[in-house]
């Protein structure tokens, strides 16, 4: 075995020779002072299991009930709005022929972007051997799935005739056969989003299998035992299985990594391959991917900071986890900021009058407020995270993460609406303002997001037990080569 697959970081925590003595309180080795342990409280394996399963097996907290009630209300109101829109027509949104997309696709790109952080944490960080990911990857993956579901609503409901949505799939038909237009970025989206959802769901479920087995084997009630037995697929923890399992997990991580980049690249193609100034930009793929991860990390932080409080998981999601994510946010925010500057510069430098105008119009036109919200939230906010004081104040980080979420929503809004509303022919320039239906629909998507997330926290292990146990300092000597 080489370092590459070692479960131990180079400066990993180790414990002394008391391994096997049965005590849960081994003392720290000489590296202990160099880095904070990933999991606090020096937990034993059983304690990990108990801590993580506790929220599932006990009664939910009052806070949970308040949360679910609020989010289900939001969800229902939002879905009523969608129902009304479906019944009346897309006209209940504030769109017009010039601004054919606004809230719908903004929300779509926003939610897809949110999803990206989950895959990043679970797959990309896995490949990079970032062991701190184990505390957050399960929840982040769940967030990915839920965000993709939220995102998936919008391409569906933005159609004028959503009941014909199946026409976007290349299904066998008697029209001659009339297939689909493979050249349309929207079709690429269909494939990208569905693949992304399926692979993420698979990845997430594969990760859950050993935890289901754990749940099964400690279940006290019949129902819980039966469901977890079905879901665990008869997992035993055999070393042979673990070996294949680890390989498949690695392969899935390897597949999910290019996938996650491709998904937002393709989403950006919706715009980049069009002719609309402000959309037709080659920088969009990396810009979108960075932006997606940026927004996703902010959303992970938002959720984690709430979850660790509500679910009492402070020992598992520690300040150092939050710190790591803050640092990632600084990096991603830097990329996003650079992208903003670059596209503005290129527009000015290109000499293309339409391009140039679109960007000036963003900064100075009727939607300048949205543009400046975006700039302040996405470029200025992350800079505060350079300060350790800020990073270690959970409340501040929470507030900043909200700002980034807001800013990233406005980034998509700015790209979509300001590019469309004043394009080539000045005669078709138009205005846009959202209707109540659009606002409620956006609210509904947040309702769905939080509802599903709260349900997830309540019924599934929010932290990957199998993986956390793998990085515990407990029961292991300092790394030694295996013959």
């Amino acid at each position: 075995m080489t370092d590459l697959v070692s479960p131990m970081p180079p400066s990993g925590v180790s414990i002394g020779s008391e391994a096997g003595s049965g005590t849960a309180h081994g003392h720290h080795g000489h590296y202990a002072t160099l880095r904070e342990p990933l999991i606090k409280g020096n937990k034993s394996l059983a304690q990990v299991t108990d801590d993580i399963c506790r929220p599932l097996e006990g009664k939910p907290t009052r806070l949970w009930y308040v949360g679910i009630a609020t989010s289900v209300t939001m969800l229902l109101v939002g879905f009523a709005a969608i129902g009304y829109q479906m019944y009346m027509g897309i006209g209940t949104w504030g769109l017009n022929p010039t601004v054919g997309w606004a809230f719908d696709i903004t929300n779509f790109v926003f939610w897809i972007g949110i999803g990206h952080a989950g895959t990043l944490i679970s797959a990309v960080l896995f490949l990079f051997r970032q062991r701190w990911r184990t505390s957050v990857n399960r929840a982040a993956e769940a967030m990915t799935l839920i965000a993709v579901m939220c995102a998936g609503i919008f391409p569906l409901i933005h159609m004028g005739r959503p009941w014909l949505a199946h026409w976007v799939f290349p299904l066998p038909n008697v029209r001659g056969s009339l297939w689909v237009n493979w050249r349309s970025p929207l079709l690429w989206d269909v494939f990208a989003i569905s693949t992304y959802f399926l692979i993420s769901a698979t990845f997430w479920y594969v990760g859950l299998i050993p935890d289901f087995a754990t749940l099964r084997d400690r279940a006290k009630t019949k129902i819980r035992r039966a469901t977890s037995a079905v879901l665990s697929l008869g997992w035993t923890g055999s070393a042979r299985h673990w070996m294949r399992y680890e390989l498949v997990y690695l392969l899935l991580a390897g597949l999910a990594t290019p996938l996650v980049f491709s998904v937002h690249t393709i989403v950006s193609f919706d715009f980049a391959t069009s002719v609309i100034p402000g959309w037709h930009t080659t920088i969009f793929p990396p810009y979108f991917v960075a932006g997606a991860i940026f927004s996703g990390l902010a959303m992970v932080l938002t959720l984690m900071l709430v979850a660790r409080k509500v679910m009492r998981l402070e020992d598992y999601i520690t300040e150092s986890h939050v710190g790591s994510m803050c640092k990632l946010i600084i990096a991603m925010g830097g990329i996003v900021g650079l992208a903003y500057i670059t596209e503005f510069f290129i527009a000015m430098y290109s000499g293309n009058r339409y391009e140039e105008f679109v960007f000036l119009n963003r900064a100075l036109g009727p939607f300048a407020w949205a543009y400046w919200i975006m700039v302040v939230c996405n470029i200025v906010t992350p800079q505060l995270l350079w300060f350790k004081k800020v990073r270690t104040s959970m409340l501040t980080v929470f507030i900043l993460s909200l700002f980034i979420n807001l800013g990233m929503w406005f980034e998509r809004f700015t790209i979509i609406v300001t590019s469309l509303h004043r394009d080539y022919l000045t005669s078709s320039w138009s205005d846009y303002s959202p209707t109540s239906i659009e606002l409620l629909t956006l609210m509904g998507s947040f309702g769905l997001f939080f509802t599903l997330f709260l349900v997830f926290c309540r019924f599934l292990p929010a932290i990957a037990m199998g993986e956390v146990k793998g990085i515990l300092p407990y029961g292991r000597k300092e790394k030694e080569p295996v013959q």
Partner: protein
């Protein structure tokens, strides 16, 4: 009704039968024939209808019935259209039209290309927006179904009996009997009315025009001894000076004038005519002018007097008065105009004036006379007094006298037909009260309007398309109307009503009555019955006729006009501080308000302001800025105790002292439009509860020497603080982007214009296209071997009159969406006319650019559709398949021209009567579906199949999309671009030709030809 509503789009057929039944049984064919001259009596025609009797359950095969005629006729093949020539009822101009009839329903109006007035044998078949929209008013549910007595439905017998009884007492008692009509030039109706009024000791027929040209007529009466309108021949003009006359938009005979005007300004035949426009507001005509000079209404008289003196000086015939004082710049402009007029060959210049002020018109006549513009028909001068025009015959002074008679209680019986004095006369309010004093008030209005509401009897006339009628637009030339559908209600022709009320035995039918009148007044004297029959049949078939008998009756004195004592009116008193001069003007759609029940015309954006569904108070930008008024601020106009509240609109190119307000709005009964358009939680009704569309502003009209005064009344304007955002289809007006965002940028090159000098100079005028040749990324897989359809649009010819917009609407079943949707810029017109202002303040140039699907060969919209609902045909058409569309709107987003239209709601509505106007050859689109211009592919298909069935090639010009077909200016040429000899190819080869946004390499199939202006400076050229 069907198991899969989303897949089924209702078409006309589904809604036909019950509506037909409701309106009094199946309507047969028109009563006369155009295509087959041998007219024969029809046997029973049950009408070919297809009934959809839906099964209540979700059966897989809903039963549809197919009901054939009982008796076939060679004239109709189900599924094929028949065309009938008839007379347009849209205004008093008397244009000839063709009505397209499908299965007994007229569905489309086109101009009659052979008509001497608006076709003049050129093959051009122009018809204005109003003419084409009249087909919709035929199916108006609000039209009266039959006579009304004292507010209740009555039978014709009862009504006639009551009227005849009252008339009998009048005949003996000797009370005044007055017939008040709009301009009636047709011999049939005039003869009927004349013989009716002749039966009374004090009977009189008075004509009134909602848009009066009384002063023009009176001026010719005084100067030439004949109260006639000279027939203005713009086609013969080389210099045109127009003083506040909107002759391309609404004045006298706009279709004919547009045709002639564009012909005179044809760039390929010598030097085009030069056009000066002096006006106080921005008119459609001003938009086309080479030079446009803005003057206040008060300056008009002075300017005319100044010009008259200038011309007189050149003519060496000094007038008896000195040149009026005008501002320095105006004086300079007038000197230039005088030069241009004088340099033009005698008889080829033309000065026209829209003022309803006698002195103004006398001055104009004087100038024209000095320039040798008056002449007989043979002289080919610009003003023909021999074959004079009858298109305006109203006499304001007679109406004024009538009003006073009524007020004095001297009128025993008043018959009102084809006019609406209680709405459009300045005394409207007092008149309404006074009318109660009239013993017998009979209205022949087709609906309950302001005037007929006061009438004891309403005896509705037919709709123009249901009538036998005639019109004599110019002396000796007749337009013949034949019904193209059996009357939908129990209505009666006006001439027949008067014949009945004369107490004599009235002919059995409208047709017999007209034939009798023709024998008496129109047909050549002493024609044999067979010769008359030939003359009659030919005239009805052609839709027009020449009547030497009528021509010879026209006696215009061509002597030197009597000019003694011509004194220019003193300059109007300057406005007191804080007051503005109101200018009331008709719009292209509403005219004098007679079309206020036509939703197509309400939704037709004004060609200049682009506002639909409202009138407004237009203010110059400087004035608005001074008063702190913004677009949509409700302002009050107050004059002499009358107050009117209107939303404000900022109008570049208008005189700062002027507030311009459209006439024709605020008609009674337009509250019906409250329901038009979708209704949802955030929608606003088109009309507020109990309100009307727009505001009636006739109370701001003045009367001067008995004539209506449209301009100059001083009003105080105040902001009320309320807001009423206007529904505008174009929000941003310039091709130059806002200066505060991008200072110093050039105008964008969409609608290009050149000066004449640039155009004449080969290199400078060479392909006007800016930008660089784009390099295609892909190999070209797609040769267009057969036809490659293209359209060339000449911006020099386009006046912006919007006839094409309505043509497209009628042809392609485009829905009316209502004010709220238009306010959200969701109007559905496939063809819009972009109007760009260039310049600052008053000195503003306008350019119109019809913008429709460019049928790009590298269409960006096609690439992005996920379901292949839009793609390219092998004839270069950008196809849109409605039934495949799922409505992602991606295509519309990716369209650089934004010409695609989306069905935001279910716009098609269940009004079965109104739906009779639908074209069965075009699918009615359901909600959630994208639609757009198809180059009228149904017409292409029809002609292609016809040619193939006849084993021949298509002819150039055989296929015409509705827009190109309707254009009175011949600004649009459609054809096969692969055929080098086709007109479209030749137009494209013209060096003014360019394509909009060509540098995107989308390869549009529509080519534009740059506007050429005869002026000095370069205006709006990109480099």
């Amino acid at each position: 009704m069907s198991p899969h509503p989303q897949n089924r789009q209702p078409d006309a057929q589904d809604v036909l039968p019950s509506a037909v039944r409701e309106l009094g049984g199946p309507s047969g064919a028109g009563d006369a024939v155009r295509l087959s001259a041998n007219r024969r009596d029809f046997l029973k025609v049950a009408g070919f209808t297809l009934a959809a009797a839906a099964l209540p359950s979700c059966s897989r095969a809903p039963t549809h019935e197919a009901i054939p005629y009982m008796e076939g006729t060679p004239e109709f093949t189900p599924g094929n259209a028949a065309w009938y020539a008839t007379l347009c009822g849209g205004c008093s101009a008397g244009c000839g039209i063709l009505a397209k009839v499908r299965e007994g329903r007229p569905i489309k109006i086109e101009g009659n290309p052979e008509h001497p007035l608006n076709g003049r044998g050129s093959g051009l078949a122009g018809a204005c927006a109003v003419a084409q929209a009249t087909v919709l008013s035929l199916y108006d549910r609000q039209r009266l179904r039959g006579p009304v007595a004292a507010g209740a439905a009555a039978s014709w017998e009862a009504v006639d009996k009551a009227i005849l009884e009252k008339l009998a007492t009048l005949r003996t008692a000797g009370g005044g009997v007055r017939v008040l009509t709009g301009t009636l030039s047709g011999p049939t109706q005039r003869a009927a009315i004349e013989s009716f009024v002749a039966a009374f000791p004090d009977g009189k027929h008075i004509m009134v025009d909602g848009l009066s040209a009384s002063a023009l007529l009176d001026a010719h009466d005084e100067l030439f001894g004949a109260r006639v309108l000279p027939h203005m021949r713009f086609d013969r003009a080389s210099v045109i000076a127009s003083f506040d006359a909107d002759f391309l938009g609404t004045w006298v005979s706009p279709v004919e004038f547009t045709r002639d005007y564009t012909r005179a300004r044809n760039l390929s035949e010598g030097t085009p005519a030069r056009h000066f426009q002096l006006e106080s507001r921005m008119s459609l005509t001003g938009a086309s002018a080479d030079e446009r000079i803005v003057l206040a209404p008060a300056e008009l008289g002075g300017a005319l007097a100044h010009l008259a003196v200038r011309v007189a000086q050149k003519a060496g015939r000094p007038l008896g008065f000195p040149a009026a004082k005008v501002t320095k710049s105006l004086g300079k402009a007038l000197a230039g105009i005088a030069d241009a007029l004088w340099t033009a060959p005698r008889g080829t210049s033309l000065v026209v004036c829209g003022s309803n002020h006698l002195t103004d018109q006398k001055l104009v006549a004087q100038i024209n006379h000095m320039l040798g513009n008056y002449g007989a028909s043979k002289a080919e001068t610009t003003l023909d007094l021999e074959a004079h025009s009858n298109q305006k015959l109203g006499d304001d002074r007679a109406v004024h006298a009538l009003v006073e008679e009524i007020n004095a209680g001297k009128v025993g019986a008043l018959f009102v037909a084809g006019c609406n004095p209680v709405y459009d006369q300045p005394e409207a309010k007092s008149l309404a009260a006074a009318l109660k004093k009239v013993g017998l008030l009979v209205s022949l209005s087709e609906r309950v309007d302001e005037t007929s509401a006061a009438a004891g009897f309403v005896c509705p006339d037919h709709h123009a398309l249901e009538s036998w009628n005639d019109s004599e637009p110019t002396a000796g030339t007749l337009t013949v109307a034949q019904p193209v559908i059996r009357p939908l209600g129990d209505t009666r022709g006006m001439a027949r009503s008067f014949a009945v009320w004369s107490g004599q035995q009235a002919p059995a039918s409208d047709r017999d009555l007209m034939r009798a009148a023709w024998q008496k007044h129109v047909a050549p004297r002493g024609a044999s019955p067979a010769a008359f029959e030939r003359y009659w049949n030919q005239s009805v078939h052609d839709g027009h006729a020449a009547s030497p008998r009528l021509r010879s009756r026209a006696q215009a004195t061509l002597s030197v006009p009597r000019l003694e004592g011509l004194v220019p009116s003193p300059a109007a008193a300057p406005l007191t501080a804080g007051r503005l001069a109101v200018v009331l003007y008709p719009t292209v759609g509403m005219l004098d308000g007679r079309h206020a029940h036509n939703p197509w015309l309400h939704e037709l954006p004004d060609p200049i302001t682009k506002v639909a569904w409202d009138n407004y108070a237009a203010l110059a930008p400087a004035t608005a800025a001074r008063l702190g008024i913004e677009d949509g601020d409700v302002v009050s106009l107050e004059a002499g105790g009358r107050t009117i509240e209107l939303p404000a609109l900022i109008q570049p190119g208008q005189h700062p002292d002027v507030v311009a307000v459209p006439l024709g709005y605020g008609r009674k009964g337009t509250d019906r439009f409250a329901d038009i358009g979708p209704s949802w939680i955030e929608s606003e009704p088109t009309v507020a509860e109990g309100g009307t569309v727009g505001v009636n502003v006739s109370s701001l009209l003045g009367r001067e020497e008995g004539r209506i005064r449209y301009a100059g009344l001083a009003v105080a304007l105040r902001r009320t603080g309320a807001k009423k955002p206007l529904a505008r289809t174009q929000i941003y007006g310039s091709q130059t982007v806002p200066q505060h965002i991008r200072p110093g940028s050039d105008p964008r090159p969409a609608a290009l214009s050149l000066t004449l000098a640039e155009y004449m100079h080969e290199e400078a005028g060479g392909h006007a296209t800016p930008g660089h040749a784009a390099q295609p990324l892909w190999d070209d897989d797609h040769g267009y071997d057969g036809n490659h359809w293209g359209l060339a649009i000449d911006l020099s010819r386009c006046t912006g009159c919007s006839a094409c917009v309505i043509a497209c609407q009628a042809e392609n079943n485009i829905p009316v969406v209502g004010r709220d949707e238009v306010r959200r810029t969701r109007e559905m017109h496939w063809l819009r006319i972009d109007r760009y202002y260039e310049g600052e303040g008053e000195d503003v140039s306008v350019i119109h650019q019809p913008m429709l699907c460019q049928q790009c060969d590298n269409a960006p919209c096609e690439t992005v559709c996920p379901v292949l609902a839009t793609m390219h045909s092998d004839e270069g058409l950008n196809q849109q398949v409605y039934n495949r569309c799922v409505g992602t709107r991606y295509c519309s987003n990716n369209c650089p021209y934004k010409v695609r239209r989306f069905n935001w709601f279910k716009y098609e509505h269940a009004d079965e009567v109104e739906n009779l106007v639908l074209n069965p050859d075009v699918t009615v689109r359901t909600r959630g579906v994208m639609e757009k211009c198809t180059f009228c592919v149904q017409r292409i298909q029809e002609k292609k199949i016809k040619a193939r069935n006849e084993d021949r090639a298509l002819l150039d010009g055989e296929i015409k999309p509705a827009c190109a077909q309707s254009c009175p200016a011949d600004a649009m040429v459609f054809g096969n671009m692969n055929d080098a000899k086709s007109r479209v190819s030749q137009s494209i080869a013209e060096r003014r030709s360019y394509r909009v946004l060509e540098d995107l390499d989308v390869r549009p199939s529509i080519h534009y030809m740059a506007r050429v202006r005869q002026r000095e400076e370069r205006n709006n050229r990109d480099d």
